[in-house]
């Protein structure tokens, strides 16, 4: 794995708009994770092509936040999911 890997949602993990609760959820094997705005914004950028760095730059620009802070938030969030095998790095 490189230091700037490309995260992707493996098969069996889907981002879904929950109309009843009007929120984004991550549907995963046998669970549904209700996402806050930040989590949803990060996962929307996970397209299987962009590196962590590219994703962080885009989010930093969009929200006008320091890139280093955004990058560490993105990394923590996705590492947490990767640890549960809900995100893969390649």
């Amino acid at each position: 794995m490189t230091t700037d890997p490309v995260p992707l949602l493996p098969r069996g993990t889907r981002l879904h708009h929950d109309r009843v609760r009007d929120t984004m959820v991550l549907l995963v094997p046998e669970r549904a994770l209700l996402l806050d705005d930040i989590g949803a914004a990060i996962l929307r950028e996970v397209d299987g092509r962009s590196t962590l760095g590219a994703i962080s730059s885009r989010l930093a620009e969009r929200y006008g936040a320091p890139k280093a802070d955004v990058a560490s938030d993105v990394r923590d969030f996705l590492d947490g999911l990767a640890g549960q095998r809900l995100v893969d790095y390649q």
């Binding site: 094997p29 046998e30 549904a32």
Partner: protein
């Protein structure tokens, strides 16, 4: 309670009670529903659409063996079309490569495969079906090369819990991303077979250590979920995350239950999807409201700091062990009926009683 309950997140649809296996720990009720009383294809499709509208996100298709329904592929497609995440809970028996192809095309999201044991002799003995293990392995291969996400559900009890590490290694070698190491809970047929199934305390302690070690060994590779047997716990499990709070079960004939064992509670009337809309059953039905909130609780639960955490435990277990569905779950160490659980543990027979297989004459 005045607050309107939140919508349910998950539905367990017990499509049928039919199953080629006859596991002694099966959670199905002793009175199995016959095929002729099962909901029709259209009946189930309607349930799935109503569920999605109500707020259900996850659909678990279970049984019995869901593959015993010839219309499984149609049901999976309809559930996906309704916007649900579709999980198939199967023993693998009855799923041919052709049927797997069709399920994949229909949009199946995930498959949970039960593992009775890690060797053929033992697995076939526990499931009461010769050759089941070989067929299960063949199915697992078919699932994996297709890339269908797989969870292995290793069922733990007196006869299998010593092999827990082998089961975990087995699932990892199969390529599972997740394993559920689930100790048998004593409902339905498992309750009948409790003497034969209940592990010893020493076994449980060892298993916990083995799981902790395996978690380190497989960190980042496979998720390991562990459900310990609650008879040995100090506090009860938050059954279903709280009665009528997140989950909804539908029995083969369309009876809607707050949990799969709820029908064992006398005096509670359960609605059927053939008679009432699902949302009315969830929000206003007598069964779902029976144990919501705190008003129904007895002491010590009513004034306990953990009451919103475990909701007083399992109502069906209170019924089974304390003969009172509003009692504190007897596995809780504060429960007046805890001595009943301790008594069961003390009475544990050193030699093992034979299984009464599901579906055989009692």
């Amino acid at each position: 309670m005045t607050d309107r309950p939140a919508p349910p997140i998950a539905m367990l649809a017990e499509l049928t009670h039919r199953c080629p296996l006859s596991c002694s720990y099966c959670s199905n009720p002793l009175e199995l529903t016959e095929r002729t009383r099962e909901l029709t294809t259209e009946g189930w499709i309607d349930v799935f659409r109503q569920a999605a509208k109500l707020g259900v996100l996850q659909l678990h298709l279970s049984g019995g063996e869901p593959a015993s329904r010839r219309d499984l592929e149609i049901l999976v497609k309809a559930a996906r079309d309704a916007g649900l995440y579709v999980n198939l809970i199967t023993s693998g028996i009855g799923l041919t490569p052709t049927r797997l192809n069709a399920l994949e095309t229909a949009g199946l999201d995930h498959l949970q495969l039960s593992l009775q044991a890690t060797t053929a002799d033992k697995a076939d003995w526990i499931g009461g079906y010769r050759g089941s293990f070989a067929r299960k392995l063949a199915l697992a291969e078919e699932v994996l090369w297709r890339g269908i996400p797989l969870t292995v559900n290793a069922v733990m009890h007196r006869h299998t819990i010593d092999d827990v590490r082998t089961a975990i290694d087995f699932a990892a070698n199969l390529g599972a991303r997740r394993i559920e190491v689930a100790c048998v809970q004593f409902y339905g047929w498992a309750l009948v077979n409790r003497d034969a199934l209940l592990p010893t305390r020493a076994q449980v302690v060892q298993a916990k250590d083995a799981v902790a070690e395996a978690r380190l060994a497989y960190a980042g590779r496979m998720m390991i979920d562990f459900v310990p047997p609650d008879y040995y716990a100090d506090y009860p499990k938050a059954c279903m995350g709280g009665w009528g709070s997140t989950g909804i079960n539908v029995a083969p004939d369309g009876t809607v239950l707050p949990c799969h064992a709820a029908a064992t509670i006398p005096g509670v009337v359960f609605d059927r999807v053939t008679e009432k809309p699902l949302s009315a059953i969830w929000y206003d039905g007598a069964a779902f409201n029976a144990f919501r909130g705190h008003a129904w609780m007895q002491e010590p639960c009513r004034s306990c700091a953990r009451r919103d955490h475990d909701h007083g435990g399992c109502r069906c277990q209170a019924m089974t062990l304390a003969a009172d569905p509003t009692a504190t779950d007897p596995v809780c160490r504060h429960a007046p009926a805890r001595p009943a659980v301790d008594h069961i543990l003390e009475q544990q027979a050193p030699s093992v009683s034979p299984f009464i297989y599901r579906g055989s004459k009692r």
